[in-house]
């Protein structure tokens, strides 16, 4: 059994930092730009797939002004400009040096997260970092230590807990709807960077490069599952794990982890993989809480018909416009709404000088769980490879 590492020595809760004379002064200095009447100015670092979702969210968010976006790929910069970004850069470091922004969304590949956060820290810019926070806890520690010293806030985009079906599970669980939950299971599957037929586009190479990403499916998908499980059950302990590869690729495309939540005395299995063809809008995320009196399942909190649900949301948003209301951004898409809500919560926290609801420490904790799982899986693999002693 492994337990999570303790809170690092350098970590100071953001709220506590405000009572710390030096850190408090730094925070005050960096955050003095925000007032209730001014918009939070944002730069988006990386506008590939998920970066564009963040960009669109930020552009639609009241009280937020997107000043610039950066991406090394010209097509991505063009898309960002078409979406309404005033300025684009081919290098995120130049954006950070040139723009007077309050916060940056770091949607770069994982191998650039630490560097980008460290650059942002030089300018006192708060950061909202795409998951995984870093490629390792060691890298996360360096990143968070820098952020702490600079007095910047770090939020992490763990969106699973923002999905309406997960919120529904949590509400039912908190209400005690099935009594004690001795066992839970979570599965998250998709088709990863290689996709499914027909293969129309070139798959990016970095998601399959362990040096660039730090791992495979466990860091891409499992990391979300760790976050949502801790959100439900509290601290987790990893008991065992196994990794698999359905193709001869450099990282795992399947991971299974056995966990234990001591506070709720719940045993949990987690399985994630990037091997299964996904046909949107169907998404294969299953969460089941097996309780004494029954089961809580996220499937019970999904729309019965995604298209009918989308139509209802769309009509509701149009009607809301005529009543001078704000639209429920990405409402018809169901899943993308979670990204908007996560970013909105981060921005609200920054405005209120509060710790982001999913902080860098939360992101690090999920990473630590993944690392423990990798270690245990490697131990098991080594044990299996060792030749048995033959008695004659």
């Amino acid at each position: 059994m492994r337990s999570l590492l303790d809170v690092p020595w350098w970590y100071v809760d953001d709220n506590k930092a405000r009572s710390h004379p030096v850190l408090g002064q730094m925070l005050s200095q960096f955050r003095s730009r925000w007032t209730a009447s001014s918009a939070l100015s944002i730069g988006v670092l990386g506008v590939g797939n998920i970066g564009m979702v963040h960009l669109k969210s930020a552009l639609a968010m009241p009280g937020v002004e997107v000043l610039a976006a950066a991406d090394a790929v010209p097509e991505n910069r063009n898309r960002a400009e078409r979406a309404g970004v005033p300025r684009t850069y081919d290098d995120y470091a130049t954006l950070l040096a040139s723009e007077d922004i309050d916060a940056a969304i770091v949607a770069l590949p994982p191998f650039l997260h630490a560097e980008a956060v460290e650059r942002a820290a030089e300018y006192g810019i708060d950061v909202f970092v795409e998951k995984p926070l870093a490629r390792s806890t060691e890298e996360a520690d360096r990143m968070l230590e820098t952020a702490e010293r600079a007095g910047i806030a770090v939020g992490v985009d763990h969106t699973l807990r923002y999905q309406p079906d997960m919120v529904g599970v949590k509400e039912a669980y908190v209400e005690g709807g099935v009594g004690h939950v001795p066992y839970a299971s979570i599965t998250r599957l998709n088709d990863g960077p290689l996709g499914r037929p027909p293969a129309d586009a070139a798959p990016p190479s970095w998601p399959l490069d362990p040096d660039a990403v730090g791992g495979g499916s466990l860091l891409e998908l499992g990391i979300h599952c760790f976050d949502v499980l801790e959100w439900l059950f509290g601290d987790l302990e990893v008991r065992d794990a196994t990794m698999g590869r359905t193709l001869e690729i450099p990282v795992e495309d399947a991971a299974t982890v056995l966990l234990r939540a001591p506070e709720t005395e719940t045993t949990i299995t987690l399985h994630c993989g990037s091997y299964q063809w996904e046909e949107l809008p169907e998404v294969n995320t299953r969460l089941r809480l097996e309780g004494i009196t029954g089961t809580i399942s996220n499937r019970d909190h999904l729309p019965g018909n995604f298209y009918a649900s989308a139509a209802r949301e769309a009509l509701s948003n149009v009607a809301s416009r005529f009543r001078d209301g704000e639209p429920n951004v990405f409402g018809p898409t169901f899943y993308l709404q979670a990204h908007y809500d996560a970013l909105e919560d981060f921005c609200d926290a920054i405005r209120e000088n509060e710790t982001p609801p999913i902080s860098g420490l939360d992101g690090r904790r999920s990473l630590a769980l993944a690392e423990t799982a990798y270690d245990l899986a490697a131990e098991t693999e080594t044990d299996e490879l060792e030749a048995p002693e033959v008695m004659s």
């Binding site: 193709l247 769309a314 809301s320």
Partner: protein, 311 residues
């Protein structure tokens, strides 16, 4: 040669229709591969150099039937290694989506073929000589650039039994067309490529076929390009006359396609399971949906998700 010969592959011990271990699959394939290749021993073993052209267009998992199982090609390489002194090469071609060496490596081709000292060659590589060829197709002369390993060596095409994106059967002609450079339309390119390369044999991998879903058909088919493609097309529930390239080559055949089925493979059952199958729908948003979403977004003030922007 207008006969297609079938060989059953023992699938009785395959839980779920698939055995992950490539050695296990190769062992299962050994007798079926031998039964088909032995009949062509004279023609293919007499040559010094043979090129194998499997369907390795993208690293889809072999258990889906969307690519040729590396175990099939491995079993062919094992037969050549055991029975002949032939120099064997396996070819594929990089395209604008993915490099062939990545696909071959991810699928396990490189590892299994390394055992037999078989080269895996990307015919798009600059080091591979290309030769300009001209062949008639549909009454017109078609110019194409063909990699020399497909011209100077005896060629065996090893496609998989699956539909293609345009709805027709994948097949040998399409596999050959994917290996040449040609600006003609797909049908004429397929005809011209098949004529220029003039393969000695087609060995169709139907161990796992893809219809609407994967189907453990547990069969191998061998014969000429038009004969095997015609049977494959039929198994996928398509009409051969809907495929212009295949129709062109079939019309030249002097005799109708015959099927030799010594293992009594249940073709009707395979056809029933595969018939009408097609690839999953593309992820690309239909332009009408993109337009509708933009109108909705303008009316509501909502954002347009990047996935629905359209190109």
């Amino acid at each position: 040669m207008n006969a297609v010969r079938l060989a059953a592959v023992d699938g009785a011990d395959r839980r779920g229709g698939w055995r992950p271990g490539i050695d296990t699959r190769m062992a299962t394939l050994e007798s079926a591969i031998a039964s088909l290749l032995d009949r062509h021993r004279e023609s293919i073993a007499a040559t010094d150099r043979v090129t194998i052209a499997p369907d390795v267009h993208y690293p889809f998992h072999p258990s889906t039937g969307m690519v040729t199982d590396p175990a099939v090609v491995g079993a062919i390489a094992a037969w050549f290694d055991r029975e002949t002194d032939t120099d064997l090469t396996v070819v594929g071609r990089s395209d604008d989506r993915i490099a062939f060496d990545r696909t071959a490596s991810y699928l396990g081709y490189e590892r299994v073929l390394d055992r037999f000292g078989t080269d895996v060659v990307d015919v798009a590589d600059e080091s591979v000589p290309q030769r300009n060829e001209y062949r008639a197709a549909d009454g017109r002369s078609v110019a194409l650039s063909v990699p020399e390993p497909l011209l100077d060596r005896t060629v065996i095409v090893v496609p998989t039994l699956r539909p293609s994106a345009d709805g027709s059967a994948g097949g040998a002609m399409r596999t050959l067309a994917s290996l040449v450079n040609c600006t003609a339309d797909p049908a004429r390119t397929a005809v011209a490529a098949t004529r220029a390369i003039d393969p000695e044999l087609v060995l169709l991998d139907g161990t796992i076929a893809y219809g609407r879903d994967p189907v453990a058909a547990n069969v191998l088919l061998s014969g000429s390009v038009p004969a095997v493609d015609a049977v494959g097309t039929s198994l996928l529930g398509r009409e051969t006359d809907e495929n212009d390239a295949l129709s062109t080559l079939l019309e030249e055949g002097e005799t109708p396609v015959a099927v030799e089925n010594p293992d009594e493979v249940d073709l009707a059952s395979i056809r029933e399971r595969l018939s009408g199958g097609q690839l999953p729908p593309t992820d690309e948003t239909h332009p009408a949906v993109s337009t509708a979403y933009r109108i909705y977004a303008a009316a509501s003030g909502d954002a347009v998700p990047p996935q629905l922007e359209g190109r």
